[in-house]
């Protein structure tokens, strides 16, 4: 706390007695003030690195923009980035390091549900807000619900599984009027939890899937799964898996000379799916939160930042980048509203954000409440479609919110 006061005093040049007020000074003095440390924990290496790196880039662009405008509370935001490798045990170490050694005021990131569930406990205990921006497990924000816990410090800005499953079913059953659906899901936690969400979303519409099949990561042949779906008379296939195996499904269908629509969860938007499946990926549809287009000035600037800062014409994983960029803005808004770096005050501010926050996905108006720590509702989900090797918006009506 002493350093905190001193920094404010130095930066504003005001007397110590007024330092408590934390007035917002000019951009110039922000550069000299003590920075506010924000942790970033995501997988920069390992199987989820494509998402983790995009997430980090989104966060870095947001931090750079905010700092260029003078930071928050007159202080620049400084990122403390750590690679959790997508491994639960590394995620736990990173959490402890960020909390106890680096003393961050909040952490953003996480691309793996398992890592988030393992690491969040430390933030909850330390009363430090943690914002998941690329995890999908429905459980993530519900691990520390009151009344079992006094306050929940876990927030999320991203597509969660039950939302994605609902959107997939809406696309298949309501928009395209399919009644005979097969589910193909991988055998990981991700795939099987998603499959359960799909089955319950289908049963809410009174539909029973005609086939529910499983495959393993790295499976090289999907003949058995696809033939079972075909024999059952499936009109479309709903998938819960990740890019490479989804590509094997698309290629397997081409091999069997059987083509029905593919409707997948978010990872069907992975570059690996589009590249490995090539022409067989055409027409596949999937749930996305963000499809790169320059439809708003904010999005134009966002895409331009990827070009200038990272020399990327195409964002590796656009939804992760956009969700994490917006998540960082939500956190910065909460810091400004709380006028404090105290974890409890930031949490309260997040739960009652007064000003709308404009992001690239849309404008967030009161995204969180004490009882709801998921910023997304179904209106945040779009349906993307592979056309000519790129993902575009499938429906005209899916415009920026």
């Amino acid at each position: 706390m002493a350093r905190h006061f001193l920094a404010t005093w130095l930066s504003t040049g005001l007397a110590i007695s007024t330092a408590l007020c934390l007035v917002v000074p000019s951009a110039v003095s922000a550069q000299n003030a003590e920075p506010i440390l924000i942790g970033v924990s995501a997988a920069f290496t390992g199987g989820s690195a494509a998402m983790g790196l995009s997430a980090r880039q989104g966060i870095e662009i947001a931090a750079k923009e905010i700092n260029a405008k003078g930071g928050v509370l007159g202080r620049p935001l400084k990122l403390v980035e750590r690679d959790d490798e997508g491994k639960n045990e590394v995620g736990v170490q990173v959490a402890q390091e960020l909390i106890d050694k680096e003393r961050v005021v909040a952490t953003v990131g996480f691309v793996n549900t398992g890592v988030a569930l393992a690491a969040q406990r430390f933030y909850e205990d330390a009363r430090i807000p943690v914002m998941s921006c690329a995890t999908t497990g429905t459980m993530v924000t519900r691990q520390f619900l009151p009344p079992d816990y006094e306050h929940n410090y876990v927030f999320r800005n991203g597509l969660y599984d039950s939302l994605q499953a609902g959107k997939m079913v809406e696309e298949a059953v309501e928009r395209r009027k399919f009644t005979r659906l097969a589910i193909l899901a991988d055998s990981t936690n991700y795939g099987q939890l998603g499959r359960a969400d799909l089955e319950s979303a289908l049963s809410a519409k009174g539909v029973v899937p005609v086939a529910v099949e499983k495959f393993n990561i790295k499976d090289i042949d999907m003949t058995a799964q696809l033939l079972r779906a075909k024999q059952a008379g499936a009109e479309a296939i709903l998938t819960y898996g990740i890019g490479p195996e989804l590509a094997q499904i698309a290629n397997g269908m081409a091999k069997l000379g059987w083509k029905v629509p593919l409707i997948g969860s978010n990872p069907m938007g992975m570059t690996s799916f589009v590249e490995i499946a090539g022409p067989n990926a055409e027409g596949a549809r999937m749930v996305q939160s963000f499809i790169p287009d320059a439809s708003t000035p904010r999005r134009r600037a966002f895409l331009e930042a990827f070009r200038t800062d990272y020399n990327l014409e195409r964002i590796g994983n656009p939804p992760s980048a956009a969700q994490c960029y917006d998540a960082f803005y939500l956190l910065a808004a909460a810091l400004a509203q709380a006028r404090s770096t105290d974890g409890g005050k930031i949490r309260e501010a997040l739960e009652s954000l007064e000003q709308p926050v404009e992001g690239v996905i849309g404008t967030y108006r009161k995204p969180f409440t004490a009882g709801n720590h998921d910023a997304f509702d179904p209106s945040y989900a779009l349906i993307g479609e592979v056309r000519g090797g790129v993902i575009v918006s499938a429906h005209e009506s899916d415009r920026p919110r």
């Binding site: 690195a49 099949e213 499983k214 790295k218 090289i220 003949t223 799964q225 033939l227 079972r228 024999q231």
Partner: protein, 290 residues
């Protein structure tokens, strides 16, 4: 009926992929009673090196280069991980050291090529052929033909050349071969080189239909190991039989029972073979005289 044939054909083409990798296990086991547990990684390196040079030389042009690379990589593995273990008569030293080298190769590939799965350009059209109602990819036929050609090639080398005769002699009785003036350590190096060459060849062969990436070898290497055990580590024909059995088993169970259980019968078969015929279906039982 056409479904059953389709499953059989798909199972057999997957089985041939397993068999060609398992063939490498058989090569080193015959001469040295050791196995390169990094066989999956040797396959991955072959595919990745192939992917790196394919834009310059085309698919067929990369083949000789990849075969050469495999030979060198195998010899290196033997020198680093196995030679000392055999010299000191260490029973299990080579197990850990070949696994360790495999992990190192995998990490190396991750750092060079990243962790994402990539597309390997197919030398043949991607459109399936329809033969009597059964769909099969031209590439799958090439895999089967290539695998058989490789095994026949190695067999011809063993029977027809003086070096090959030394390999057979060492495989039959390493001690006696040594007494007859055969440099057995060098034969072991050769067999490791050929084993990795087979794996690297398998890598470029299967890469267009599987996923190509640093982690492609792990799952395939393990499957191939079960195939080698089922078929018999000392029999070339055995690994083909083992591969076909496992591949077909997986597809039939996947379709007729449940896709979630596709791997179970293969493993049951493995347990069954181990308890009834520990040397594998076509393996010769070695008599140990005391």
């Amino acid at each position: 009926m056409s479904i059953l044939t389709q499953l059989l054909v798909s199972g057999m083409s997957v089985g041939m992929i397993y068999a060609v990798i398992a063939f490498g296990f058989q090569l080193t086991f015959a001469t040295s009673r050791t196995i390169n547990f990094g066989q999956g990684e040797a396959l991955m390196l072959g595919a990745m090196v192939g992917l790196a040079v394919v834009p310059f030389l085309g698919y067929w042009g990369t083949l000789p280069l990849v075969l050469m690379f495999g030979l060198c990589q195998g010899a290196l593995v033997e020198k680093l991980a196995v030679a000392r273990a055999i010299e000191t008569r260490s029973d299990f030293g080579w197990v850990m050291s070949t696994i360790a080298l495999g992990i190192i190769f995998k990490n190396l590939a991750e750092n060079i090529w990243g962790r994402d799965d990539l597309k390997f350009p197919s030398p043949l059209p991607d459109a399936p052929l329809v033969l009597g109602g059964v769909h099969v990819l031209p590439m799958e036929l090439l895999i089967t033909a290539g695998a058989l050609a490789l095994m026949l090639g190695v067999e011809a080398f063993n029977r027809g050349t003086i070096l090959g005769k030394a390999v057979i002699a060492t495989a039959n009785d390493s001690g006696a071969a040594g007494l007859m003036g055969i440099n057995t350590p060098r034969v072991v190096t050769l067999s490791y080189a050929m084993s990795s060459m087979a794996a690297a060849f398998a890598g470029v062969l299967v890469a267009p239909v599987t996923l190509t990436g640093a982690t492609m070898g792990s799952a395939l290497g393990l499957k191939a190991f079960s195939v080698a055990i089922i078929g018999g580590l000392s029999s070339g024909l055995g690994v083909i039989l083992g591969g076909l059995l496992l591949g077909v088993c997986e597809k039939l169970t996947g379709f007729y029972i449940a896709t979630g259980y596709a791997d179970v019968p293969g493993l049951l078969l493995l347990l069954l073979v181990l308890s009834l015929r520990p040397t594998g279906l076509l393996g010769r039982s070695a008599l140990t005289k005391v």
